[in-house]
Symmetry: C2
Subunit: 445 residues, 2 copies
């Protein structure tokens, strides 16, 4: 019994689960009929593509639309759906149901919305997550299919609609439009922009929030978690839109030539997509350095907890800012919406942020060595994108050296399973020591 | 009485003190006889130079050695000495003597070494700091004068020896060698390298540590603070040396052409100087992107508390790593040398780091706008260097636009007085609230 429980240790299930679907995906993508040319992918490129898809990252070494056969595309779509749904479920479980030590506190978040916290709770939770996923993906697919049908044959349009709905709701950022162009063809298209932005936002906001909003008509209340997620997401989305609008307004390669509405739509898309879907309606390499730096910042923050999105998460960012603000103002507590944030939460925010910085810094460092003739900004952008599960690129990915590809594969995997594994370690392993060392004094700053 | 106390509020004294010496310095450097050409500096360049000198930063828009008259150089040297000594004293006071709330705990660090914590303590402390400063600067000046005398006339050599000893002990990074070349002429010179590295290290390690080591023969013990500073500095210095050695070994523009000893000396210098003196024996722009990224990392960490150096400080970095490590291992406490680090200290480390990141990120963002045709790596390097009080540059400083110069001036000032002002706010303003909000639950990561 103990052996079984050890075997089903959640981080192990997470890591082994992802490894398994990545390896199956890699195998399938090397098959001759996975690609249009009938050769299949090389092992390294297949591993890269499968890892990117299963981790819903979105970085690609080969162009998805022009390389893969329908079979290959279906393999990628399955990896995205399994990876995205699996991770979203895991992330919600980890944060809500699991964890001996925090469960007493944090489980309450779930209980508020699910009225349960046992095995039935898990089953009910999974069903609910699948329900939301399928519902939103179907609505997205219908709208996108109609939009694509204006440009391409109906059958292909439906296929495109389904693919891009699933890809964006899961924050995967894969596309079928060809030539690594993502959605640049639709830069000033309001239906495409608003639908995809809605899919990305709903997919990145986290299940807890979706569920609370869904049940609001009954419960008539939202938790602190939901308030902080909504407030932070709002500020980042619209703050990002305004800044990109200002920074790109006079850029002839990006916004300058667009209409007023087109400018707004393009700025909105480029603000939403870095957190952390990885689609784009502008060519990243055409943006100003200022916008690219801003986008890196947005990528690093990423989506919200309990979603398929990446980054350190909105609540982490809000907690950091709150902690600094209260320290500077000489307040003892970090207070959001008249509730005080416990030390444990601040401590976790610190750990998540430093780990995230560490992964991005180490990957940047290693890529500057392996890709030593590439531009630093391109490398930094790629590293932040890979480790934060975003999938935006200034165009470096297809040019990566073999060792660079392996490094990015490892970073995509670590950026996906690492944070949850750390969260689990924090949640479960902490024990009150019977023996404690005396407190030491040290100067800081 | 209360008005006088308010007027002497330490952050105000710090900010007004620095502003005053910067403005006096600016005035003196605009005088015709401050420069060799008899024109004096323009107001903006004088303000830049005076700010850089008083804040012991080291970024320069005009080459010090070939622009200024002896009078101008003496003005700069005075600004460095007043700024460096003043800040070191303030930083030690802030961390040790002042602060109602932390004083009970942290004052002990001082009491251990000074056996006092009252007004006499302050006087004794100031005397002791001046004693260390003068002693080390004289020894440094003598060694450097002898070294310079091998190349240049004796009188000039003594002047050079005094200037470079004061500049490097105060982590100011100004030099008189001409053409923005810093100490590149001495790249494989062991006397120059080792003397300057020793000056930088002793100036950056902080007064508390110097004093404890000085009194070790009597006390036979060192505090936790000193242990952590020494351990972290050791790891960063030699880790940095090894990494730079590896990264530059085959670079024909830097280490490749040097002898074995020369390689070691150059790697050591480029590892020590970013924390945070800002001298260099290699042209920064010639280094590999990997080394430059590593140097940015070292610049951001910087020196130790209670010194004239900048950055988030060694103890802050150690605390962050310790906090993450203990979280991942599921330990409740952060333990260094069998002493547990209080939550308050971890919280301060978080605040200092996030504030430091904020300053560097905002400056980078603004400089990408004002210097939009410059290379991103150069801009990022400049921003980290300016805000961490380092003074290393890939060569951007003299090419900065007027607005860019103003931004860097503000960042140098903020990077100097900001951290201490924040530290003071943390130390004094915190009050136990009689009313506290209830604890809220939130998911992180
Ligand atoms: K993504
Ligand atoms: K400096």
């Amino acid at each position: 019994m103990k052996k079984l429980r050890e075997f089903l240790d959640p981080p192990k299930v997470l890591v082994l689960g992802f490894l398994t679907i990545i390896l199956i995906g890699t195998f399938l993508l090397t098959l001759p009929y996975a690609t249009i040319n009938g050769d299949g992918l090389s092992f390294l490129n297949a591993l890269f593509t499968a890892t990117s898809a299963a981790c819903v990252n979105g970085l690609v070494v080969v162009d998805t639309g022009s390389t893969f056969s329908t079979f290959g595309i279906l393999v990628i779509l399955s990896l995205i759906q399994i990876g995205g749904l699996g991770f979203m479920t895991f992330a919600t479980f980890f944060a809500v149901l699991l964890g001996k030590r925090i469960s007493l506190k944090e489980r309450l978040v779930l209980r508020e919305s699910m009225n349960s916290s046992s095995i039935e709770g898990i089953v009910k939770l999974s069903k609910r997550i699948i329900f939301f996923t399928v519902l939103i993906e179907i609505i997205g697919a219908i709208i996108l299919s109609f939009r694509f049908a204006a440009d391409i044959p109906t059958g292909k349009a439906i296929f495109f609609g389904i693919f891009h709905s699933i890809s964006n709701f899961n924050n995967a950022g894969f596309d079928l439009t060809g030539e690594f162009k993502s959605l640049t063809h639709y830069v000033d298209d309001s239906i495409m922009t608003l639908t995809v932005c809605a899919l990305i936002t709903l997919g990145g906001i986290g299940f807890i929030v979706l569920n609370e909003l869904y049940e609001y008509r009954i419960t008539r209340r939202v938790s602190l978690h939901t308030k902080v997620v909504l407030a932070t997401s709002f500020v980042l989305t619209f703050g990002g839109t305004i800044l990109i609008l200002l920074l790109e307004f006079g850029n002839p390669k990006t916004l300058q030539t667009l209409s007023h509405d087109g400018k707004l739509l393009a700025a909105l898309f480029q603000s939403v997509a870095p957190r952390s879907a990885g689609s784009s309606t502008l060519n990243m390499a055409d943006l100003t350095q200022s916008s690219l730096f801003l986008i890196m910042f947005l990528m690093f923050i990423g989506a919200s907890p309990g979603s398929a999105g990446g980054g350190i998460k909105t609540t982490t960012f809000a907690t950091l800012l709150g902690a600094v603000w209260s320290q500077i103002k000489g307040k003892e507590d970090v207070v959001f919406f008249r509730q005080c944030i416990p030390f444990n939460t601040i401590y976790k925010a610190l750990t998540v942020t430093v780990s995230g910085l560490f992964l991005a810094v180490v990957l940047t460092m290693l890529l500057t060595i392996t890709e030593n003739n590439q531009d630093f900004l391109m490398i930094l952008f790629e590293a932040v994108s890979a480790s934060s599960n975003v999938g935006l690129s200034m165009g470096l990915t297809p040019d990566l050296s073999p060792i660079g590809r392996i490094l990015v594969i490892i970073a995509m995997f670590a950026g996906r399973v690492g944070p949850l594994t750390i969260a689990y370690a924090i949640a479960t392993k902490q024990e009150a020591n019977t023996f404690r060392y005396p407190k030491g004094k040290m100067m800081i700053g």
